[in-house]
Each structure stands twice: as structure tokens, then as C-alpha cells.
């Protein structure tokens, strides 16, 4: 019985919050402000807790405390460096020594910039270039005519699209015309993905409406 009551409370709460968020579409109002305030508080709390257990606990606490000495790798104590850097981060709250918090920031920025440099170069530049280089008539020279046209369009589109992104050359003359074709390609692509996305965005709304009409109001079974 109690679980039945809990279920009803939860259902009405969810419906209250759903409608509160939707009410923003009409205009800003008290209801929305309440939902917003609750949302910000609870989500910040949730992330803090989830981060604590998923990161600090599993990455640090388990490594330096929970795991028995015998099972630890030889270099387990290196984890303390991470914690030390983290504590330096906390110094941000002390105005006089706040500048020290730049060290952990520098560490994160530097390490990830290095990582991005190579991984993005490999996946975004090298791989894409390799993928673009294909015989126009297909690998076996047996591509049907529409596929040949498609291959030509892909090659031209990639070529002119890249021309558009040139910054150090003025878009004039033949170069400018190629850039113009490139931006045509970009616009077609943007229009297409906008139109394509409508379907999945509508699905989300249908899902919410389904909740209101069938789970909450029980208007449909």
C-alpha cells in the first residue's frame, strides 16, 4: 500500500515538474522558477556525489586505501600527486594564495592539449583525407552512373569546402568561386541535418506527452 502511495506521489511530482518546465514556453513564471531552482540544486548535488564516488573514490581512495597492500601495483603512491594537485585547486578559495591553483589548471590544459593534438590529427585530418581518396569509377570500375556522379560530387564538395576555410587568401576570382561552391555545400548540409533532426526532437516531445496522457492522467491505456 505504501509503495502504491509512493508511486502516486512520484507520479504527481514528475507531472508537476514537467508542466512547470513547459510553462516557460508561455512565459517566465513562479512555477518555472521553482522547478529551475530545484533542478539546479539537485543536479549540482547529484554531480558532486556521482563525481565523488566515480572519480575520487574509484580512482584515488580505492587505490591508496581500500586495495590491500599486496594487490597494489608498485607505483600506487603516484596517485597522491593527483590528490596533491587537487588540493592546490582548493587554494582558489584562499585569495592570497589563489594563484597556486593555476598549477593544476596548467597541468590539465597541457596534458589534454597534447593528447588532442595527436588524436585529432589522426582521426580528423589523416583518416578523413585517406577516406576521401577513392577511385571515381569505384574499386572494380563497375560503379553505376549515379554512383560515379556521387563520387565526383563528394570529391568536389570536399575540395571546395576546404577552399572555403582558407583564411590567408582572399576569396576572389576562381578561388572565390570555388569557396562559393563550398559554402553552397555547407548550406545544403546544414539544411539537411536540421530537417533530419526534427524527427528525433519530436520523438522526445511525444515521449513526454505520452507520460502526461497515459502514465499520469491515464487518458489512454
Amino acid at each position: 500500500m505504501e509503495s502504491g502511495l509512493m508511486h502516486h506521489v512520484a507520479l504527481w511530482l514528475a507531472a508537476f515538474l514537467t508542466l512547470g518546465i513547459f510553462s516557460f514556453l508561455y512565459r517566465d513564471n513562479t512555477w518555472y522558477k521553482v522547478c529551475e531552482a530545484i533542478f539546479v540544486g539537485i543536479s549540482a548535488g547529484y554531480w558532486f556525489v556521482a563525481y565523488f564516488w566515480d572519480n575520487l573514490y574509484t580512482k584515488f581512495w580505492v587505490g591508496v586505501w581500500v586495495t590491500p597492500m599486496a594487490d597494489r601495483p608498485d607505483d600506487w603512491y603516484v596517485l597522491y600527486v593527483g590528490a596533491a594537485l587537487g588540493i592546490l585547486m582548493l587554494l582558489r578559495l584562499v585569495p592570497k594564495v589563489g594563484w597556486i591553483s593555476r598549477w593544476p589548471l596548467a597541468f590539465i590544459v597541457g596534458a589534454t592539449a597534447g593528447l588532442y593534438l595527436v588524436t585529432y590529427f589522426a582521426s580528423n585530418v589523416m583518416l578523413q583525407i585517406e577516406d576521401t581518396v577513392r577511385p571515381i569509377f569505384g574499386a572494380e570500375n563497375d560503379a553505376p552512373i549515379y554512383e560515379i556522379i556521387g563520387n565526383i560530387v563528394v570529391a568536389v564538395g570536399t575540395f571546395t569546402g576546404l577552399i572555403y576555410f582558407f583564411f590567408s587568401k582572399e576569396h576572389r576570382g576562381a578561388f572565390g568561386r570555388a569557396a562559393k561552391v563550398g559554402i553552397f555545400f555547407l548550406m545544403i548540409t546544414f539544411g539537411a541535418s536540421f530537417g533530419y533532426t526534427v524527427m528525433s526532437r519530436m520523438s522526445l516531445l511525444i515521449g513526454r506527452m505520452d507520460f502526461l496522457f497515459s502514465d499520469w492522467l491515464k487518458l489512454i491505456k
Binding site: 516557460f24 512565459r27 517566465d28 518555472y32 522558477k33 522547478c35 529551475e36 533542478f39 539546479v40 539537485i42 543536479s43 549540482a44 547529484y46 554531480w47 563525481y51 591553483s101 593555476r102 589548471l105 590539465i108 590544459v109 589534454t112 592539449a113 588532442y116 593534438l117 595527436v118 585529432y120 590529427f121 589522426a122 582521426s123 585530418v125 589523416m126 583518416l127 583525407i129 585517406e130 576521401t132 581518396v133 577513392r134 577511385p135 571515381i136 569509377f137 574499386a139 572494380e140 570500375n141 570529391a155 570536399t158 575540395f159 576546404l162 576555410f165 582558407f166 583564411f167 590567408s168 587568401k169 582572399e170 576569396h171 555547407l186 548550406m187 548540409t189 546544414f190 541535418s193 536540421f194
Partner: protein, 401 residues
């Protein structure tokens, strides 16, 4: 006597183990009807941490003569001094395998068993082999070389710009509007909203956004406009505060700076959006900047911003979100333009030099695409050897693994 029998059994077991067949099956193999694989060779898998061994062999002659006779192959491995185990099953026709689960401390012996309905055939075992580890992955040498080339171009042009060489940079739509947009906010007495995306400082897009913030906040400080910057990552909050503070210092008004200009909301994507939407309708910013890494929230923000009549300047390198910014904002920086913007706005020669370096990268890409596509097409359509060689050479140069 007993001792000899024991030794005999032990030998039998070792043979069985190496061959990977239980003793019973060995008896079956006597009446084999298919030929075993030949020329089985084990080599160290190159450029790894000593965990891989490559196997290559010539498939059973029966596999080639009558394709359906051999149903598959099994790879068996035994550690020298230990028992054998089956590590892989491969379809008929297979002629190589890479064992990636080796330990650097052990020495291994491999054999390959050809499987058929009538019976199995065990190959001769390989010589014992121990995987080796290398210090440098030479398979990635091409990546290193090309990345180095592009980086060298960036550095070269930065240096040449520093030494006073004038560089042309084309107009980037939207960026010239930045000053006007801030001026508009000042005239209207309304704040500027700056959203640096929802990713942390470990995303290069966020760094680019913060660099642009440096420029925007400098103008804001000069004009004495209000700036509002809710963020969803605390590291971004730290960096943004430093940046805005530095801008106010540079403008000679450190007293006008206030930590409240930047505030942390929540890491939660939609919790953050709910709060930013609220700020927008309540404070009615005259200008909104959305620069950095965005996901589904891009359109929610841009539409709400539009409803309060703000001028909106957006830029992201998230390919899926660019269309929404293009459709819903007044100015949108497309992909690479976001990175170019930080250089363009700074107007520092060294920053502009890097744009020229990026262009060298694009020029290389263009040449490779044109030459490669032509080589591939001519090579495969008319069987021109040189073109085919060129094509495969390009493939090797640009492949990644």
C-alpha cells in the same frame, strides 16, 4: 619401469599439449584425410609493448583444392614448460593471426590445426618465440612526420609574422560585429551574456572560447558594459575569472572587476540550460555569445536568446550543432572559424601566423585529395602501374593505426 612409463606419458602429454589435441584426438588424426597447414612462422608483432606475436602460414592444400573440405583452423598456443590451449578459431582460407595476449616474460610455441569433417590435421609447431617490446611505434611514424610538418608550418609562420612580415587574413563574418554588438549593449544599458559551451578546460574549443572572452571582456571593460557569464564547469569558472580580471586590469579599472561576473551553476547539461534560460528572460541581455563546445542545448539557448531580442554570435566545432547556430543566430562561426576567431580578434601577428600554418595543412589536404583521387581513378580504370603505386603510397602515408 614405472618411471619410464611415466616419462613416456609425460612426453605424450607434452606433445599433445603442444599440438593442442587431447590424446584421444591424436589417435583420430592418424586417419587424417586432409593435409596440414605448412610454412607456419611466428614473428614478433612489431612496435608494441611486448604483448603480440604474428603468425602466418600457408593454408592446407585441401583448403585450396576443394574449398568446402576444410571447415576452419584452430590456433593453439603453449607456454614452453606448460600446457597448451586453443586461443583462436578462424574460418577456412585464413592464413594469418595475431596473438595479442602474450606476456613478455614467457616463451611460446604455436601450432595450427586444420579442421575438417573427416578429421583434423596438426601442423608442425613453430620454434619457441618470446615477444619483444619496442620503445617507438614506427607504424605511427607517418603520423608523427605529417603532424610535425604541419606544426612546423604553424611555428614558421608565427615566427615570420613576429619578425614583422605582413599577413593577409580574410574577413570572418560575425567577428567584425563583435565591437558593434558590445556597443549596442552599452547603449541599451543591458548586459552581455557569454556562454563558453558546456565542456571543461580539457576541451580545446573551451580554450578558444576563453581566448575570445579575453578580447570581448577587454572591450566590455573599456565601455563599462555589464558582462554575465554562467558556466557549467568549475575549472572554466576559474579560468574565466582570471581572464576577465586581467582585461579589467589592462583597461586600468581593476576596481570595477567583480567575481560575480562569472558564476558556476551545475555540471548537469539541462540543469545549466534551465538556469541560463532563466537568466536570459530576466536580465534580457542585449548580446549573447555562444562560443565553445555545445550539444543539444545549442538551439534551446539560441531560441530563448532570440525571444528576448538579443544579437547572437555563436561558434562551435561540434559538427552536429553548427546547423542550429547557423539557422538561429545572427552570426555563426563554422567549425575551424571558431579557432581562427581567437587569432583574428587578437590581431597579434603571432596569432595570425598560426592561421597561415593551418592553411598550409589544408593546402596539403587539397593536393593529396586531388592527386590521390586522380591516381586512384586512372590507376584502377586503366591499370596504370605508376598511378596505382602512387595511390597505395598515399594510402600508406595517410593511414593511421
Amino acid at each position: 619401469m614405472l618411471f619410464r612409463v611415466a616419462i613416456a606419458f609425460a612426453c605424450l602429454f607434452i606433445i599433445a599439449g603442444v599440438a593442442g589435441q587431447p590424446a584421444g584426438d591424436t589417435a583420430l588424426a592418424v586417419q587424417q584425410t586432409i593435409a596440414p597447414v605448412t610454412s607456419l612462422i611466428a614473428t614478433n608483432h612489431e612496435y608494441d609493448n611486448g604483448t603480440g606475436i604474428d603468425l602466418i602460414w600457408v593454408p592446407s592444400i585441401d583448403d585450396r583444392l576443394a574449398p568446402s573440405r576444410v571447415t576452419g583452423y584452430e590456433v593453439w598456443r603453449s607456454v614452453v614448460g606448460g600446457s597448451g590451449s586453443r586461443i583462436a578459431e578462424l574460418p577456412a582460407g585464413a592464413n594469418k593471426f595475431t596473438d595479442e595476449q602474450c606476456s613478455r616474460e614467457s616463451t611460446y610455441v604455436y601450432s595450427v590445426v586444420a579442421i575438417s569433417v573427416a578429421g583434423n590435421a596438426v601442423s608442425i609447431s613453430t620454434a619457441p618465440i618470446q615477444p619483444a617490446r619496442e620503445w617507438i611505434n614506427l607504424h605511427r611514424l607517418n603520423l608523427l612526420a605529417i603532424a610535425f610538418l604541419v606544426s612546423a608550418a604553424v611555428i614558421y609562420f608565427i615566427q615570420s609574422a613576429r619578425s614583422g612580415k605582413k599577413l593577409f587574413v580574410r574577413k570572418i563574418a560575425g567577428l567584425d560585429a563583435v565591437d558593434d554588438a558590445i556597443g549596442r549593449a552599452t547603449e541599451m544599458g543591458r548586459p552581455i551574456l557569454f556562454i563558453p559551451g558546456i565542456q571543461d578546460m580539457d576541451d580545446v574549443q573551451t580554450i578558444a572560447a576563453i581566448t575570445i572572452l579575453g578580447r570581448v571582456s577587454r572591450v566590455v571593460a573599456d565601455y563599462d558594459t555589464k558582462i554575465k557569464m554562467p558556466v557549467s564547469r568549475s575549472l572554466v569558472m576559474t579560468a574565466a575569472r582570471e581572464t576577465i580580471k586581467a582585461s579589467y586590469m589592462a583597461a586600468g579599472r581593476p576596481d570595477a572587476y567583480n567575481d560575480d561576473m562569472v558564476s558556476y551553476v551545475t555540471d548537469e547539461q539541462f540543469g545549466y540550460v534551465a538556469a541560463v534560460d532563466g537568466i536570459m528572460v530576466r536580465e534580457k541581455p542585449a548580446t549573447c555569445f555562444y562560443l565553445g563546445a555545445f550539444f543539444a542545448e545549442s538551439l534551446i539557448l539560441a531560441e530563448t536568446g532570440n525571444s528576448v531580442g538579443a544579437i547572437q554570435i555563436a561558434g562551435t566545432a561540434m559538427p552536429a550543432q553548427i546547423p542550429f547556430f547557423v539557422a538561429a543566430c545572427d552570426f555563426a562561426l563554422i567549425g575551424e572559424e571558431l579557432f581562427a576567431a581567437s587569432a583574428y580578434l587578437s590581431n597579434e601577428p603571432k596569432q595570425l601566423g598560426s592561421l597561415k600554418g593551418q592553411d598550409v595543412g589544408k593546402a596539403v589536404a587539397l593536393v593529396v585529395i586531388v592527386v590521390g583521387t586522380m591516381a586512384a581513378t586512372i590507376g584502377s580504370a586503366w591499370d596504370v602501374t605508376f598511378m596505382n603505386q602512387l595511390w597505395s603510397a598515399l594510402k600508406v602515408v595517410f593511414q593511421t593505426n
